[in-house]
Amino acid sequence: MLFVLLAPFVIAVLAPMVRQLTGSFTGWVLALLPASLFVYFCQFIEPVGSGEVLRFSTEWIPSAGINLSFYVDGLSLLFALLISGIGTFIVLYAAAYLKRHADLGRFLMFILMFMGSMLGLVLSDNVVTLFVFWELTSITSFLLIGFNHDKAKSRRAAVQALAVTGGGGLALLAGLLLMAHVGGSMELSELLAQGDLFKENPLYLSILILVLAGAFTKSAQAPFHFWLPNAMEAPTPVSAFLHSATMVKAGVYLLARMNPGLGGTEIWQVLLVVFGGATFLIGSFLALRNTDLKLILAQTTVASLGLLVLLIGLGHDKAIQAAMAYLLAHALFKGALFMAAGSVDHGTGTRDVSKLSGLARAMPLTAAASLIAALSMSGLPPFFGFIAKEFAYKASLDGPWTLEVTSVLVIGNALLFAAAFLVGAKPFFGSPGETPKQPKEGSVSLWLGPIVLSVLGLIAGPGNDIADSYFVGPAASAVRGGAMEVDLYLWGGIELPLALSAATIALGALVFAVSSSLRRALNSLFGKVWGPDQGYDQFMDGLMGLARALTGVLQTGSLRRYLLISFGIVAAALIAPTLVLGEALERPIIPPADFYIWGVGVLTVIGGLAIVLARSRLVAILSTGVLGLAVAFVFLLFGAPDLAFTQLMVETLSVVILALVIMRLPVDGKDWRGAPRALRDIPIAATIGVAVTVLLFSITSQPLDLTLSEYFAERSYTEAYGRNIVNVILVDFRALDTFGEIAVVVIAGVAVLGLLAAGSRRTESEAERRP
C-alpha cells in the first residue's frame, strides 16, 4: 500500500521527462498510472462490499506513535476510486487541454502529486499521516491554482486558497492531537471505535470546533466559501479535478470519517446543518449571479458541498445514505460538466454563458456529455442525481427541523436545477452565436472524460443495485460506524419526496426562464455588499500593516537598541518566574566559602572590571589576559585540568589576535558614552547580572541529575578504554557533537580568510582606480 501511494509522487517527478520523450502521447502514457491505481483499488471492491476492513501499516516514527498506517473501508474506497478514476481522465484531458503549453510537464507533475496526496489523505489511518497528506493537498493545490503565476489574479487566488485551507489545516492538527490525547491512540480506526468517549469528554467542544474549522475551510463552507470561486483562475483541468470531486470533498470526507466518534450530538447537528444549509443557499444563489461557466460551476460546487455537510449533520441513516449517494452523483456530473465547460472554452474562446448558444452542431460529443451531466445534476429521472435528490428529501422529511431543512432543500435544488441547464444545455441549443473562435470539437482526450463520467451517472440510475451494494452501502456503513443496509431505488411510489421533486423541477424551470433578469436583480441588490472575500483582503492588509508597524519599532538599525530589547527580555524572562513562583532566595550577602576560593572569585571580577575601566587599548587587552587566567584558575581549582589548560592556551592566543586587530583600529579604548547613557545602561546590565545570579541560585538549590555523568563514568574505561572521562565523552560518547564543533572551527577559519581576502582585493581595486 505504501508503495502504491508513493508511486504518484515518483511518477510525478518523472512527468516533465516523460513529456520530453513522448511528446503528444504524454497524456496517454501518464494516464496509465491513475488507471492502474484504479484497477488496484478495484480489487478491494469485493471484500469491502462484504464488510471487510483492510489495514496496512509501516512504522515511521514508532516512538511518537506515528506510523504510515492506511485503512481501506467503504468510505475511503469510494473516495480512492473516484480520485484515481477521475484522475485518469483528468490527466488525459490536461495533456490535450494544455497541449502547447511550455510547462505541461510541470503541470502534470503537480496534478499527479496532488492525486497522491489526496489518496493518502483518504486512506490514512494515523492522525499525523492524515494531517501530512491534508497539508500536502493544500500545498499542491496552491501550486496548481497559481500555475499561471504571471497573472496577479492567479497568484492572489493561490495564496488565498493556501492561507484559508492551510490555516484550517493547523486547526485540524490541534483537533486531531487533542483527539489522540483523549483517546490514547494515534490511529483513527482505534479512536473512532471508542464510541461515546469523545462526546462525554470535557474537551469535546474544543475538538469539535478545531476539526470543523479544518473541514469547513477545506470544503469551502460559508463564511470560508470565497476561496473556491477565486480558485477558478486555475486551468480548467485543475478545477475539474480539485474543485469538484476531490480536494474540496476532503472536508466532507473528514466529517464523514469523524461521524462515528464526534457526530450525533446536538451541537454537531446544529453546527453542520446551519453552516451546510447556509452554504447551500449562498452557493446556489451566487451561481445564478454569474455568467462565466466555470464560476457558475464553482458556486454550484459550493452549494453541493453545503448540502453534503447538511446531510452528514442530520446524521440519521437515511441522511447518510443520501449524502453518500449525492457524493457519488456529484463527483460524476460535476467532473463531466467542468471538463465540458473547459472544452467549450477551448473550442470557442469564451466561457460567457450569455454569448454561447447553438454549439450542439459543432461540438456534438461535448454537448451530449454536458446535457447528460446537467440532467443528472438537475435531478431528473432516471439519472443517478435523481436518486440522490430523492433520498435527500426522504432524509430531510425524517427530521429534525423538517420544515426548515426541507424548504432549504427545495429552494436550493431549484436554483441548482436552473444553474445546471444554464451550464449544460443553454450553450448548445438555439441559433449559433458569435464567439471569438470558430467552435469545433476537440480531440478524443478532451471528450472522453466527460462522456464516460456523464454516462456513468446515467447508467448508475437504473443500475442502482450495483451502486448501492458496492459503493454507497459500504461507504454509508463506514460513516455510521456499523453495518447499514442500503437499497437505492428510482421509483418509490407517489409519495411526498416525489411531489417535492416535482415542485423543485417546476420552480427550477421557472428560475431558468427568468435567469437573466434574476441575475440582474441579484447583481444590483448585492453588487456592492461587503463579503468575506473583501474581508480576506482587509485581514491581509491589516496583517501587513501590523508587520510594518512592528518592523518600524523593532528594526531600527541601531545595534544598541537591538541589544537593549534582547537583554531586557532575557532579564525579564529570567527574573519573572522567580518572582511569580515566590521562591524566596534568601542567601547571606557574602556566601560562605574558603578565603582562597573567594580570592579566585574576586580575581575574576577584578579582571572583568579592569576591562570595563581600561582607558587605553593596551590595558584592556592585558585585562582580558587577567580575566582569562583567573577563569583558568577556577577550572584548575575545581577539578577540571583539561579546561584549565585549554583556557590557558586560548587566553594566550586571544591576546595575540586581539593585539593584531585592535592595534589597527583607531580607538583609544575609553568608554565614550556620556553619563546619561551610562546611567541608562547600568541598570540593565545590573538586572541581567542579578537575573543570572538568581538563576544560578535556583539551579544549584535543585537536586542535580547525575544519571548521564555516572553513565559516562561507568563506561568510560570498561567500554571506551579511556581513563580521562572528559576526553572520552568528547571523542567517543559524543563524538558527533565534537565533529560538528570542529566543522564550525574550520568554517570560522575559512570565513576569516575569506573576509580578509575580500578586504585586500577591495583595497587593491580601489588603489588601481585612483590615479
Partner: protein, 127 residues
C-alpha cells in the same frame, strides 16, 4: 561555593552587557569575550563545583572513585571554549573589516544595510 561563584558569574554577565551596550566596536568585541567566559563559568557552576578531584579513572581501577568532578559540563565547556575562541577571532576580523569598509568604529553609525532613510519610510504607511 556555588553561591559565591553564582555571584561572580552574575557580575561578569553585568560587566559584559555593559560593554556590549557601549556602542564602540572594540568594547563590543571585549564584551563578547567577557560574555563567553561568563557563560563557561555559568555552565561550570550549574554542574556543581567539586574541589580538586578531576574526572580521571586511576590506574588499576575500572571506574572512578566517587567524589570526582562532574565530567559532563567539562566536556561541554571544553568545546565551548574552542568554539567561542573561533567565533571571537571571526568577530574581531569582522569588526576590523567593518571598520575598513565603513570607516567608523561606532556601531550607531554602521548603517550600511539599514540606512536611516529606509527606516523613516518604513514607519510611514506607503511602502
Amino acid at each position: 561555593m556555588e553561591d559565591a561563584f553564582a555571584m561572580v558569574v552574575g557580575v561578569l554577565f553585568a560587566l559584559s552587557v555593559y560593554l556590549l551596550l557601549s556602542g564602540s566596536i572594540m568594547r563590543l568585541v571585549l564584551g563578547i569575550f567577557v560574555l563567553s567566559n561568563a557563560t563557561h563559568l555559568l555552565i561550570f557552576v550549574a554542574g556543581r563545583l567539586t574541589l580538586e578531584e578531576p574526572p580521571l579513572i586511576p590506574d588499576m581501577m575500572k571506574v572512578a572513585e566517587p567524589g570526582f568532578a562532574n565530567p559532563l559540563p567539562q566536556a561541554l565547556i571544553l568545546t565551548a571554549i574552542v568554539i567561542s575562541f573561533s567565533l571571537f577571532a571571526f568577530l574581531l576580523v569582522l569588526a576590523y573589516r567593518a571598520y575598513q569598509t565603513l570607516g567608523t568604529v561606532d556601531t550607531d553609525e554602521m548603517r550600511y544595510a539599514e540606512p536611516e532613510q529606509s527606516l523613516t519610510s518604513l514607519r510611514g504607511r506607503d511602502v
